[in-house]
Point group: D2
Chain length 253, copies 4
């Protein structure tokens, strides 16, 4: 039973320390969520309960890791941005990625009923995770802009698609056929003329996704504050966002 | 909203394909489980409900990934052994690690009440994960032997410790003091003379941990079989285990 | 001039330790050697001076690194096989790769005139390098077989090509055209009927490449021995080679 | 001789593409140059022939790789700075590192006699190489400042040491003893009072190392220019250097 005889195997573990001074994104993504959302009767094109649950689980992660300066979620994915100076777990990639992903998953299941009430979770959902590094502030902004542009494109399409299916009685393939080759303005037009929907008036959470930030919030009349994670449904592609929250890119010693 | 302008950021993702023809271990490990088991009143030194839940969550993972040939669990950790020929997710490390870890975590929370009944889960637990590679069959056996020797050492110690504390009224530090410098035979002797416990008669699941294997099990009188994940509480340090389950190390084309 | 202020940059170096218990191949390859061999009037299809120089430079590398158990060279490339237990430079990939490559390059230039006599080296040649890992003995044999099969295919083609060009007066494109679609037996036939060449009688160094091994060689009548690097022009694809040199795959503690 | 049977081994090569948008340093370093400089009677503390040869070999590398924006050499080491936008070899680390190192080594041997005249090179020298990444411009400046501060510290020490040994007849250990615990001002004082040397008047190449830049140089009266690699012996720790050569950090599309 001598442990020492086998202990050499520990030396096969490799060092996966992340290059310093890079922004670290941990992005998690629902596995087979098409099936999952069908099984749980999610509203189409967006289920506010599902989005709120995602946001709540992400906030749990942010409270645990105070070096996450911003998180951005849409659909069944979430991106957690660790500050370029982050040092948690000595920047070991596996540790950072697996802890974020596990805590998110765990919170998603644990808090399910807070948002879905009596509707039971039918089976355990699964999220994968990856780490991506960005050396410059501009890279980071472009990454987040990429994800937000993705929401716009997908949500506009999905809003048209599901209105055609649910409110016009088209089959899925008919709706697809109808939308083939259309550009943004065509889709806006369809929504407006056929469904009386002004796309820009739809809830921002659907159109913009959710940005989570940690802010000092005034909690009483004596100006006492508390650190809280707050959701913002803003346009982060515009420079204005970064000016309003200029602490995000600040250098930390 | 041009997505293409930002899409370059996708090229910053790196390829983390695992070297072929190596055994791949994904090991997950409970984060701060000392606190977690206290908060949930786990029996000491072993809580059979907790172990069964770990085993059940691990079985969920094995059912999802059929290239896992063996899993081994003890305490709050589990090792999943992917066959050296495994090709899931094209052997991408992040994908394999994060999916295994997330599904395990999710199942742990989802099935909690199956084992803990009325006792509620108080907060979402978290598991970290890592990947380790072993080029040879001998390395793999040594890895598993290392983990099983670890169970033996820890469990013998913990069994003494908690008997001294719970049944003799020692404080934690007194129990530690009493056990300082003792070797295995000393501890066996303490258990036998002071608590009338023959260590070798304690449940094998406590002394050996749990090995999970997928086997074709006969399910009726017509010899029909079904693939099932079964728990074994055996000594895998001995060569006998590997002879009895010689399919584990078989080459697959 | 405080060095300490800047010394943090050292921490940006990453650990590139190679997974243990894998065979390590460092393969070097001449850069733009088509141009280099033209500029130096190498004989076609093979220049024995050039091959000897390659072999000599490789032997210099083997004398420096005693954990290289075998080297294999052909044309302008050389593969150095470090034993799976090798521990030089603590298995740091950059260190191993760069030292092997630099010493090879340096020796190639330094000893040029030993083989090319009065013919001057016109400009400094360059070799690139890569590292590839092989977990099993079979992988290693297959790697070397791959390189040796490559010699056979290329050399048979080149021997035909250059005989057609140099001895039949065909242009390069005519020779290419003539050989298009031919299989091995066709090429053997061309060599035999048109040039009276029995391919199998050509020098083994051209047909098989060069294997370098370190052997204890008897150096006098009193049976004193000395470790020497010796060239072998053998067929390593056959199992016979590995039986005759069974020390190569031996386990080292 | 079927090549295809073995070709699978090629798939064991791994992708080692470097993270984009980082400055890439390839640093090469003489192996056992203490012995090498002794064997070749290098002047102490600095041999101008040796430094010129290093600089010349580095210039050969810069001419080959036009994405190297600056090189910095001192003693037996050289750092090559590839622009953060560099794309040579698709940023594959092994390719970049090995080609730079091999061409440097090759040039060092090939051009030896240009600087050492009749004095023969006795054996092939060897250089190792590593790659280090720096995400920000400030990191890059700090890296180079680190290397230049290193020159200052070493050269001041060595200048004292060798004057004590060569001109005062101290043994090596006596000289070491004499210098133990001295700070910069002490060493300047020793040089001035005992050897009538004003350290700041010594050749800049010894005190500052060599910076190589590629510049458009006017080559005739008609203002025609040619790209040339020129040596500069300047202080790159000061911001002034970076202002004078502000093209170095410019963004390239």
């Amino acid at each position: 039973m001598a442990k020492s005889k086998y202990e050499y195997v520990k030396s096969y573990e490799t060092d996966d320390k992340i290059l310093q001074n890079c922004w670290i994104i941990v992005r998690i993504d629902g596995k087979a969520f098409h099936k999952f959302t069908d099984a749980h009767n999610f509203d189409k094109p967006n289920d506010i309960r599902g989005l709120n649950l995602m946001n709540f689980a992400a906030a749990c992660v942010m409270k645990e890791f105070n070096e996450i300066v911003l998180s951005y979620g849409q659909s069944d994915e979430y991106s957690f941005v660790f500050h370029r100076s982050a040092n948690v777990y000595n920047r070991r990639a596996s540790k950072m990625m697996s802890n974020v992903n596990s805590l998110f998953t765990s919170s998603y299941v644990f808090y399910w009923n807070n948002w879905f009430g009596e509707q039971k979770l039918k089976y355990p959902p699964c999220f994968d995770a990856r780490i991506v590094l960005y050396p410059s502030d501009q890279n980071l902004k472009d990454y987040l802009s990429w994800r937000q542009a993705d929401v716009h494109i997908n949500n506009l399409y999905n809003t048209c698609f599901w209105n055609l299916v649910l409110n016009k009685g088209l089959t899925n393939s008919q709706a697809e056929e109808r939308l083939r080759g259309t550009v943004s303005s065509d889709k806006n037009e369809i929504l407006f003329t056929e469904f009386d929907i002004n796309y820009n008036n739809l809830p921002a959470i659907f159109r913009k996704g959710t940005i989570l930030l940690t802010k000092q919030i005034k909690i009483d009349e004596e100006n006492r504050t508390r650190k809280m994670v707050i959701p913002i449904y803003d346009d982060l592609i515009r420079e204005k966002f970064w000016k309003e929250h200029d602490e995000l890119l600040e250098k930390k010693s």
